[in-house]
């Protein structure tokens, strides 16, 4: 499979869950396990650009396909707009749900660059946050949407805003 743009392979038992393959075999520990029942979304990754819950997919099911995890969001030192949004709007506290939330939100912004608050709430409703509540997460996604639209207008300026430590 391709994970965050790189070709990755491994021999696994047929029963190995995708989340375990990512965490154990590939040491991509940013994908978390919160519930084991597809309810909480902490294990969300993007499969060919669509959010899926990696705790209820087998690793072999994604053979040959494209996976993106939280580790693939930033471009080197430059954070992606969704990451900047979560930071600026205090959209995280303990950080455990954050990778899944950001991936779901970035998939939403891919297909709907200017979502309403309700569209954001619906899109992230398969992901549970226990610390932050959802007000700031919605604001964080709006912040990223605004960064995207500004980047579309003035690519150079937005790249500076989104990047660098």
């Amino acid at each position: 499979m391709r994970v965050n743009g790189a070709e990755r392979s491994g021999d696994v038992e047929p029963r190995v869950l995708l989340v375990d393959f990512l965490r154990t075999n590939l040491a991509l520990t940013g994908t978390h396990v919160g519930c084991d029942t597809t309810s909480c979304g902490a294990c969300t990754v993007l499969l060919d650009g669509e959010p899926v819950k990696s705790c209820t997919l087998l690793a072999v099911q994604v053979d040959g396909r494209e996976i993106k995890t939280v580790e693939g969001l930033a471009n080197g030192a430059a954070l992606a707009p969704i990451q900047v949004g979560f930071h600026e709007e205090h959209g995280l506290q303990c950080g455990f749900c954050t990778p899944g939330m950001m991936l779901v939100a970035s998939a939403l912004l891919e297909r709907n660059p200017n979502p309403t608050d309700d569209e954001i709430r619906w899109a992230i409703s398969g992901n549970i946050c226990r610390c932050t509540g959802y007000m700031n997460i919605v604001k964080a996604v709006q912040y990223a949407a605004k960064m995207h639209s500004e980047a579309a207008k003035a690519p150079a300026a937005a790249a500076v805003a989104g990047g660098g430590e």
Binding site: E13, R15, V16, D20, R23, A27, L28, T29, G30, T31, H32, V33, G34, C35, D36, T37, S39, C40, A42, T69, V70, E71, L73, A74, L79, Q83, V84, F86, H87, E88, H90, L92, Q93, C94, G95, F96, C97, T98, P99, M102, I120, R121, W122, I124, S125, G126, N127, I128, C129, R130, C131, T132, G133, Y134, M135, N136, I137, V138, G164, E165
Partner: protein, 784 residues
């Protein structure tokens, strides 16, 4: 990366969080992310029955499975005197069952194997023969004649009663009730719920066979206290135990206790000589670790002919589960429940509490609350609204008439609490203004005339947080102080180590800001470390909103201590008298000559390079802060609901939350805490429930049954504030992490009850689900 990096980051500045950088990149260090060389994995076999005698355990087939290193039973633990352990409430709890299982999900055996999958496979091959016994699933069941004796392991235990506890004055309270114009009663059950942090509990035990040093990575909110408990349980010398709490994915009280899995994993590592990892799955977390509430409460409020409250009488039965394992100060069997007079000037009160064993999971942790203050706040606020409705007085007016007034502080309550400060009428006025209460009341009247079901709920809570002081508050004898150790390096950068432990609250930012304010070193230059007992100073940990009240105070005090040494250094550098120096955040200057100044960084450099005669080198210190009193945050929450008569569905239309937590160190973080707490309060009020069937099966054992609020159900909250500083805290701060979870459930339910009051409905216990509302309306003959 942050838009606020250039800011100094003193008190009151909403700088962005330092800890975000790693979490945003998926580079947090949570327990399950650690992989140690040669690490083994543990899986626990749990009881499927609520109450049963163990007749036999056959581990042969399990031991023969691939990858299995050991199968551990209670019998093996007993050989090492580790089959039982002490609880935080002075009781005992089975580590692995030897005689009976006493709740569904109790730990029976453990498998240690090369991989997690192998450990779980082998666990399923263990054969246990049980003789099923009658379960007890409620305090009433525990009291019933002929009820099974749950704790037959305890010498002298003849029934299922654990404790009787009282507070207040029975005689004066009885006398006041005898003279009462009106007595309003509310019987309500605050059901069992669960903190459910998104990360479950777990540990990695790594006992070094050569040195004997036990390093235990653990999802612990209180690593230092856990180290001491471990020393007492295992008999290992305390200097040979190192607890490391890494990044924690939420705690909310669930990660305070010691769980059997920690003890088994440590024993297994000791015996096998390899690291052992144990991480719960979600079901294990929900059915076996620290639950919250489960209080059956009856409150009577006496009121005189002028609408003044004259006395409060409360009885509660506490359902403690199979072992009395409440995590709370040892002197108070029902926690801080006796704050139950709340925000009201009630002359006399009497509180009685009885605890009972049942065949349910033990725990009784303070779920985002200060030791049972949530139950207390819920009862009084529900009772006050019911009284107002019954007396025909406006809920807000009735509260205002009975509030403790600003000039009465410090105020001694009928149950002996000394409230430090407050301005309750002001918080209420701000909330009602923000809500537009007067207009809304008219709107409610008009819509009710049209047959609509709508209502407004108010709760004006007072919390008590920030334990100690140590003379009154201890856990297993450990006084509830907390600590901060501050080292300023030669270049003026600093390392702050704390005895508390963040689970998402943002300590790395907030505590750096206290140093920034008090010692003048920018927050960006202060590294905050917590959670490693080999490096951090001893502290009691993070729960009960105590980090800012106690450890925050310690940080201020140690910063001031270093500032005084820096003053001497600056005087030396400026060749001035230290009395002539003026402190302005970040530098000292000579009175009258502001151009003659030395920065804190210059003073720090001098501490290592250019000292006055006789002064010790270095600029570092430690402060252990034992607070003189608790702090008393408060607020008024107001909720507007519409109810669909056809379905019973409750829609929260508005929610205004005005909090007063004293001085706010980082307002952004404070508001984040309130937003999160309101969401949890909403969940408790309307969704979350751990319950049991007649056989003691846990209903609510996964996130498909134990419902947490998502972005879709959660209302949009409107936040407001007032600021009444704590007079005894060095910064005037009070603590805020839990106010919203404490105060909001009553506000939500009061709104529902207000809406249903025209139909004669006076109570619905949480969670207020559509079916309960529908049934209540139907019981009063209301249809479409």
């Amino acid at each position: 990366m942050s838009s606020t990096m250039h800011m100094h980051g003193g008190i009151g500045e909403s700088i962005k969080r330092k800890e975000d950088a790693r979490f945003l990149r998926g580079k947090g260090n949570y327990l399950d992310d650690f992989v140690l060389p040669n690490m083994l994995h543990m899986a626990i076999l749990r009881s499927p029955h609520a109450h049963a005698r163990i007749k036999s355990i056959d581990t042969k087939a399990a031991s023969a499975q691939p990858g299995v290193i050991a199968v551990v039973t209670g019998e093996l633990m007993a050989q090492h005197k580790l089959a039982w352990m002490p609880t935080l409430s002075g009781d005992t709890q089975a580590v692995l069952a030897t005689d009976k299982v006493r709740f569904q999900g109790q730990e029976v055996a453990a498998v240690i194997a090369e991989t997690k999958y192998q450990a779980e496979d082998a666990r399923d091959a263990i054969e246990v023969e049980y003789e099923i016994l009658a379960p007890v699933t409620s305090p009433d069941g525990a009291k019933a004649p002929g009820a099974s004796l749950i704790r037959d392991d305890k010498e002298g235990q003849k029934d299922n009663h654990i404790y009787h506890w009282e507070s207040g004055d029975q005689v004066t309270t009885q006398a006041a009730f005898a003279k009462a114009h009106k007595v309003v009663r509310l019987h309500t059950f605050y059901p069992r719920c669960h903190p459910s942090p998104l990360e479950t509990c777990g540990c990695i035990a790594d006992v070094n066979g050569v040195t004997g040093k036990a390093t235990i990575y653990m999802t612990s909110q209180a690593p230092h206290a856990i180290r001491t408990v471990f020393a007492l349980v295992t008999g290992l010398p305390e200097q040979q135990i190192r607890i490391i709490s890494p990044d924690i994915g939420g705690g909310f009280g669930n990660k305070v206790p010691v769980y059997p899995g920690y003890v088994v994993a440590t024993a297994a590592s000791l015996l096998i000589g390899r690291p052992v990892k144990w991480v719960e799955d979600r079901t294990e977390n929900l059915i076996s670790t620290g639950f919250a509430r489960d209080y059956h409460m009856t409150g009577d409020l006496a009121v005189d002919e002028n609408g003044k409250m004259t006395a409060l009488r409360v009885h509660l039965d506490s359902d403690n589960g199979a072992f009395f394992a409440d995590a709370q100060p040892s002197k108070f069997k029902a926690g801080l429940f006796h704050i139950v007079t709340g925000s009201y000037d009630i002359p006399t009160a009497h509180v009685t509490a009885d605890g009972y064993y049942t065949n349910k999971a033990p725990g009784g942790v303070a779920f985002r609350c200060s030791f049972r203050v949530t139950e207390a706040s819920y009862l009084i606020e529900r009772l006050v609204t019911n009284a107002a409705l019954e007396l025909g007085i406006d809920q807000a007016e009735f509260r205002k008439k009975n509030f403790i007034q600003p000039e009465q502080f410090p105020y001694t309550s009928a149950t002996g609490w000394i409230y430090d400060s407050g301005d309750y009428p002001k918080a209420m006025d701000v909330a009602l203004d923000q809500l537009g209460y007067a207009e809304l009341k008219k709107d409610v009247e008009a819509r009710r005339k049209k047959g609509e079901v709508t209502g407004i709920g108010i709760a004006s809570f007072t919390e008590v947080v920030g334990a100690g002081h140590g003379a009154e508050f201890d856990i297993l004898g450990l006084r509830m102080f907390d600590s901060a150790e501050l080292r300023v390096h030669p270049t003026g950068k600093a390392l702050l180590r704390m005895g508390v432990k963040s689970q998402g609250q943002g300590h790395e930012t907030t505590f750096a800001q206290i140093v920034a304010e008090e010692l003048g070193i920018p927050a960006q230059d202060v590294l905050v470390e917590e959670g490693d007992t080999d490096t951090a100073p001893y502290g009691l940990g993070t729960y009960a909103s105590r980090s800012t009240p106690v450890a925050g105070a310690a940080t201020a005090m140690v910063s001031r201590q270093l500032r005084e040494k820096a003053r001497k250094l600056a005087a030396h550098l400026l060749e001035a008298d230290e009395e002539d120096l003026v402190w302005e955040r970040g530098k000292f200057y000579v009175k009258g000559s502001p151009e003659r100044s030395k920065t804190i960084q210059e003073a720090a450099f001098a501490a290592y390079t250019n000292l006055p005669e006789g002064m010790q080198a270095g600029l570092e210190g430690v402060h252990y802060y034992d607070p003189p009193n608790m702090t008393y945050p408060f607020g008024t929450y107001a909720v507007v609901v519409d109810i669909d008569k056809g379905t019973g569905q409750v829609k929260v239309k508005r929610m205004v939350a005005v909090d007063d937590c004293g001085v706010r160190i980082n307002p952004m973080i404070v508001e984040g805490q309130i937003q999160g707490g309101l969401t949890e309060g909403f969940g408790i009020a309307f969704m979350e429930l751990i319950t049991f069937d007649a056989d003691g099966n846990c209903i609510g054992s996964n996130f498909m049954d134990y419902l947490l609020p998502t972005a879709w159900e959660t209302p949009k909250f409107e936040i407001g504030q007032t600021v009444t500083p704590s007079p005894h805290h060095p910064l005037g701060a009070k603590g805020v992490g839990e106010s919203a979870t404490v105060g909001s459930p009553a506000a939500f339910v009061n709104a529902v009850i207000d809406a249903l009051s025209p139909y004669g409905i006076t109570n619905i216990d949480m969670p207020v689900t559509s079916d309960k509302v529908w049934a209540a309306l139907r019981s009063k003959g209301v249809t479409e």
